[in-house]
């Protein structure tokens, strides 16, 4: 074979049919490696359909801790005859194709001389080993896990422990799974040189970490931030955020009498979802909704109302490929501008950009604080990759000293002592007016409206009175930059050759690219924006560099556009590197994008077949 041994550095793609139960098998594989202490990530490339179509699961294992997608597959597990063609093609040169050899492989597919074919008669083995069609189908998935256990040298004790945990009292399930694994592993050991040159080895890099998806983490953040009203309408890929919120509320939010300390409303559509959210926020609750691009499009009018009437609420946009329905099960960062400038008229909304589930958790909390502090809608701009895929992040932590920042809310006592209350008066000169909640005190009453009002809250059609209020609102929103988390900045050793600026889930791939550049002696400074309005550091950083590559996942370079509009940077110093086909970003896409703009820059090193990268699935 001649292939050098590579420990804890490989990528696997598993091709199956959706709805056949492969998800739990893939999860088992992930968990086993994770529990071996090895950094790992999983990307689920699934169809917008419920059952019967091709689906892929990609596992990246990296002792160095790189967890971005790596579309260069050492092993492809081809369990779906329908996609054999592309699956064979997707094995890197020198890699391994694992397939079900119960039926012979089409000779046309079996003809790559630069890869290794590993045929395991999985169906036949399971037909022999198990009873019942459904069981056989499910166990076939477990059996390929078994094959991989042998090929990759996974720790069987860990796998056994996981099964015992999962099925606890159901001994027969533990046994069935164990024997399916044995079927696969034994066959592999009997027929192939196990382990392969690429393999896993126990290390200690995941001890304080968890595997979690961003929607679950965001949901947990909402629970911890004290959100009590959630309104939503199902839409991929945001649905699981409310699934999570529901689950955690059921766990944590029932009072002694069984009554709920929260209310979750499945709205009739996104207009209603944001309407409920705004109504509840106006009523004094921490309220939020979660949606994806199409939903935000429908919320535009209401978002303008919330901006102008100054109602602080939180919107999670778990982005998918748009415009229109687009590719609902693919990721993109295409809503950056439509979030920030949502609504007709002059607006700008506060936004936070998490890069991973850990930040989904903390930014969910921050979003509520910002929304209430600045009395304005706050977006948490996530995406499918962050929201639905399995990420390894440090364990989530909570500071029990945290108390919500409700901003400037007047209590009954304060109102009692006031001569008069005016909702939109800039009493403190900071652009933020005091608000009151319904029902608290007669003096707190005012009339909220999206139509022209003066600083006293009175209806107006007067130019000066109108502009006075919208000018203050502009000032107020701009001032939010003071509480927006500072950008993440990491500097190269020594003067940088160039800088990369990025946002959200591009983080991992960009860092991996920077590490690769460093190995090649190219020094790259790094900045990731965490929110909008931009903290001052953002512009300062851009100004430090002759050229900043703005890496993002949309066609039109929306972050770059936002930087152009909202900082003073010269256009020639920010260049777009975009990738928008819907797959999670890879180091390769970053480096080849930069190489295209900068012929002198290093292209990504290659260990195999790259020609069709990203164009698959």
């Amino acid at each position: 074979m001649g292939e050098p041994i590579r420990v804890n550095d490989f990528a696997i793609r598993i091709a199956t049919v959706n709805g056949t139960g492969s998800a739990s098998a893939n999860g088992m594989l992930m968990q086993a490696i994770f529990r071996m202490g090895i950094p790992i990530s999983g990307k689920n490339i699934f169809p917008s359909n419920i059952q019967g179509l091709p689906t892929w699961y990609e596992i990246r294992v990296s002792g160095e801790g790189h967890t971005a997608r790596r579309p260069e597959f050492d092993i492809v597990v081809a369990m779906n005859a329908e996609t054999y063609g592309r699956d064979v093609a997707d094995v890197r040169a020198g890699g391994w194709l694992l397939y079900d050899s119960t039926w012979p492989l089409d000779p046309a597919l079996a003809s790559r001389s630069d890869i290794h074919y590993l045929g395991v008669p999985l169906s036949a083995l399971c037909a022999e080993g198990f009873e019942g069609a459904r069981t056989r189908l499910l166990m076939k998935n477990i059996a390929y896990v078994g094959v991989l256990v042998a090929l990759l040298d996974l720790d069987m004790e860990i796998v056994r422990g996981m099964l015992e945990e999962t099925f606890a009292a159901k001994r027969h399930l533990i046994d069935a799974n164990l024997s399916a694994i044995a079927l696969g592993a034994d066959y592999a050991r009997a027929h192939f040189a196990c382990p392969l040159p690429i393999r896993a080895q126990t290390m200690d890099a995941t001890r304080d970490h968890i595997m979690i998806d961003g929607n679950t983490a965001a949901a947990l953040g909402c629970v911890y931030a004290g959100a009590t009203v959630g309104a939503w309408y199902p839409i991929t890929p945001s649905t699981s955020l409310f699934d999570g919120f529901t689950r955690f509320c059921k766990k944590f939010r029932h009072r002694a009498d069984g009554k709920a300390n929260y209310i979750i409303l499945q709205a009739e559509d996104e207009l209603a979802a944001i309407g409920i959210t705004i109504g509840a926020a106006w009523g004094g609750a921490r309220a939020f909704t979660s949606t994806s691009g199409a939903g935000v499009s429908l919320m535009n009018e209401f978002l303008g109302l919330a901006y102008y009437a100054e109602i602080g609420c939180v919107i999670f946009d778990v982005q998918r490929v748009g415009p229109s329905t687009g590719m609902p099960t693919r990721t993109q960062q295409g809503d950056i501008l439509s979030n920030i400038y949502a609504s007709h008229g002059d607006t700008a909304h506060v936004a936070l950009f998490p890069a991973d589930p850990g930040e989904c958790f903390t930014m969910a909390r921050d979003a509520f604080d910002l929304a209430e502090r600045y009395q304005t809608p706050v977006f948490v701009v996530s995406d499918l990759d962050i929201g639905m895929n399995d990420w390894m992040v440090p364990k989530l932590k909570w500071d029990d000293a945290y108390r919500p920042d409700r901003g400037k809310v007047l209590s009954a006592e304060q109102l009692e002592q006031m001569d008069a209350f005016y909702r939109y008066l800039d009493v403190d000169g900071d652009g933020v007016a005091y608000r009151t909640l319904p029902g608290v005190h007669p003096k707190g009453a005012y009339f909220t409206r999206g139509s022209g009002h003066d600083k006293y809250g009175k209806y107006t059609e007067d130019a000066a009175k109108y502009t006075e209020v919208v000018d203050r609102i502009a000032r107020k929103v701009r001032s939010a930059k003071e509480r927006i988390p500072a950008p993440v900045i990491e500097r190269a050793d020594g003067p940088a050759d160039f800088a990369i600026v990025t946002v959200g889930g591009c983080d991992r791939a960009v860092r991996e690219a920077i590490a690769a550049y460093a190995k090649q002696g190219v020094r790259v400074d790094y900045l990731r924006v965490l929110g909008f309005p931009f903290a001052d550091e953002v512009e300062a950083f851009l100004r430090e560099h002759a050229i900043n590559y703005v890496v993002e996942q949309n066609r039109d370079g929306q972050l770059r556009r936002l930087l152009l509009l909202e900082t003073g940077i010269e256009r020639d110093r920010i260049a777009s590197v975009v990738d928008y086909g819907g797959l999670p970003l890879s180091k390769h896409a970053v480096m080849s994008g930069i190489a295209r703009l900068r012929p002198d820059a290093a292209a990504p090193e290659s260990t195999g077949l790259h020609s069709k990268l990203g164009a698959r699935a």
Partner: protein
Amino acid sequence: MTFVKPAVHHKRLEKNALGLTVRDYEGALSTLCAGCGHDSVTAAIIQAFWHLSIAPHRVVKLSGIGCSSKTPTYFLREAHGFNSVHGRMPSVATGANAANRELLYVGISGDGDSLSIGLGQFCHAIRRNVNLTYILENNGVYGLTKGQFSASADVGSKAKRGEENRQQPIDPVMLALTLGATFVARSFSGDKAQLVPILEAAFKHQGFALVDVISPCVTFNDHVGSTKSYMYTREHYRELVEADLVPLRKPIEADGARAATTQVRMHDGSLVTLRGTEPGYDPTDRDRVYMRLREIAKAGEIATGLLYVEEGGADMHEMSATTETPLVEVPFEELCPGAAALDKLMSQFR
């Protein structure tokens, strides 16, 4: 039937149980056209709140956009008000109510606001049984945009410029009955004597209470040929059920003088007495109500009164098993599971 203009009771200075006069329930001066039906509805709302001795600041008033939707400014200046966006008041009201179930919610809308752009939200608020009095000031036109037909315009009704509407009207009352609304009433802005007790009952109702009020637009839809004019409404008016609310505070006296009454006990214990004006009309039998209303409509008449009521249905909070404490008042300490719980939870993610 002949129509009797209700006697206007000058109770200006009389005080209610809270020591407040009717004045304390007023709002800003109306900017609607002189004679607009909506102003009469406003007056009835003021009267009903005063009469029930509801503290103004414990009321939340909401609306969409339209002449009708402007009216919340004209009553209860001590109540928080929200003039939201066109057709979407139901969702805003739902959210506000979700946050604080203890306040009294009254939504004002128009036929354009509710039956065109807002039809979906209207229906779903009924389905969700949001505890909200929903007053639909129905004039058959879009007043604020100058007189286009709305979805409640009747077939054959003539616009001011002469065109005739050819589309079937959407009748909010029939719709609400079909959708399972638990309180359905119709009245006329010109009949305060009927409207005020209906509003009082609606305010007491636990759940969604629809009060459809024919409220003529004197500027764009009060001419001959219109079926939502004062004249037409008066001439085709048919009162089916008289309502009378006996608040909990007052001792309930048997009203021996009137027969054929149904009494419905509201959530807070007060009683609504319903007197059918025709034999056999039972305002608690949804299907018979539906049929009778269809007959009356076919006869070209407009059925009014507290047409249907069903007390004891679960409202949105009950269906959600929400705590009795308004969510806005639950202390953060009870909402946040804390660091220890999080730490424990983390083990599930390994």
